[in-house]
Symmetry: C2
Subunit: 178 residues, 2 copies
DNA sequence: GCTTCCATGTAAGTAGTTACATGATTGC
DNA sequence: GCAATCATGTAACTACTTACATGGAAGC
């Protein structure tokens, strides 16, 4: 069983967001806007676009002005695929994708938005509790820190990061209510 | 030119930190302590340990008590490799490895610690400025947010995350001075 | 028209994942 | 001793990276 693919959905998301675009434009969107979460080499992108054309998820737009560039647009099949992907439930396995999915939600009123964030917050709260438990186990005595300072650092960092995330997400949820 | 390998160094780091260990113990360390930053499947770990044995970076400790488990320890060659890896300069390319490297620094007084954090903070500050610039470009007017709410969200999240990281790291640097 | 870029394409190699397999050990 | 578990091993497949290649476009 192959591992779940992500790249095709990101391509679909970009094409859906930007409308018909050349491969180069998609590539730039990767590099400029979502390189925090996802990167791709052009040598992976171009063949993927070809494959997705064969699959009917994108189509090539005839392009007279420039014989070299290829313009792609998302098809109705592709739109359905994208929509289904966005609505897959957030799990521990795929939680890292939430930021990426958020990026493709354009409307503040989108119904899936609240659910995605709530599910994600739940997971991060669980992780936070787990990390806090680890901290208590490992570093409740001051002298336990001395010989494991690096471990102490990354554990405090992880706790800080999760705390900050949860606070941010709760702020967003509050904002959505107004 | 192959891409830089990370797995062998993490294995070396774990063996250096924990002393002679079985493959399973190394695997557990991955899953329990650094799964935030790095994961590995056992099917990748065991062959790697064999390969590193051939390379002389780890050695097999004779084990009479259990014919099944294999105990490995880091060799002097492996220790030198690990030390060199930890001291490689932090760059934009490998900045994500800093947390991982920190984990393997055991002593608060370790000379490389300050330098690693300072270099990393510098990169994160640059990234923060870049993100703030993007925000100004894209969302200085309130109505620009409405139709790109997902993008707005992940950009504010990224800014928040970098701000939080820089604050945390500066706190650590302060702490190191006392 | 010549050169320099640039968008796209291709190939080879490494990394990582899932699934399956094996033989020792442990619990009863 | 038998069953179940567990540490290790192997195989097949996909993802990703680097390097190299090509032919049109654009600048002069």
């Amino acid at each position: 069983m192959p591992r779940p693919r992500i790249l095709p959905f990101i391509i679909l998301g970009v094409l859906n967001k930007r409308g018909a675009s050349t491969g180069k434009i998609v590539l730039d969107e990767f590099q400029n806007e979502i390189s925090e979460f996802w990167t791709v080499a052009h040598s992976q992108l171009y063949p993927e676009l070809q494959k997705m054309t064969d699959e009917g998820r994108v189509s090539i737009v005839p392009n007279q002005t420039n014989a070299k560039t290829v313009v792609y647009e998302i098809t109705s099949i592709g739109k359905a695929d994208l929509e289904a992907w966005l609505q897959e439930p957030v799990t521990e396995q795929n939680s890292a994708l939430t930021s990426l999915k958020l990026y493709f939600v354009q409307e503040r009123q989108a119904p899936e938005l609240r659910a995605m964030i709530i599910a994600d917050v739940k997971l991060h709260v669980e992780k936070l509790h787990h990390l806090q438990g680890r901290f208590t186990d490992l570093f409740s005595e001051a002298d336990q820190i001395a010989g494991n300072y690096g471990h102490y650092l990354i554990l405090t960092r992880a706790i800080e990061r999760e705390t900050n995330y949860v606070a941010w997400a709760n702020g967003v949820l509050n904002d959505l209510d107004n």
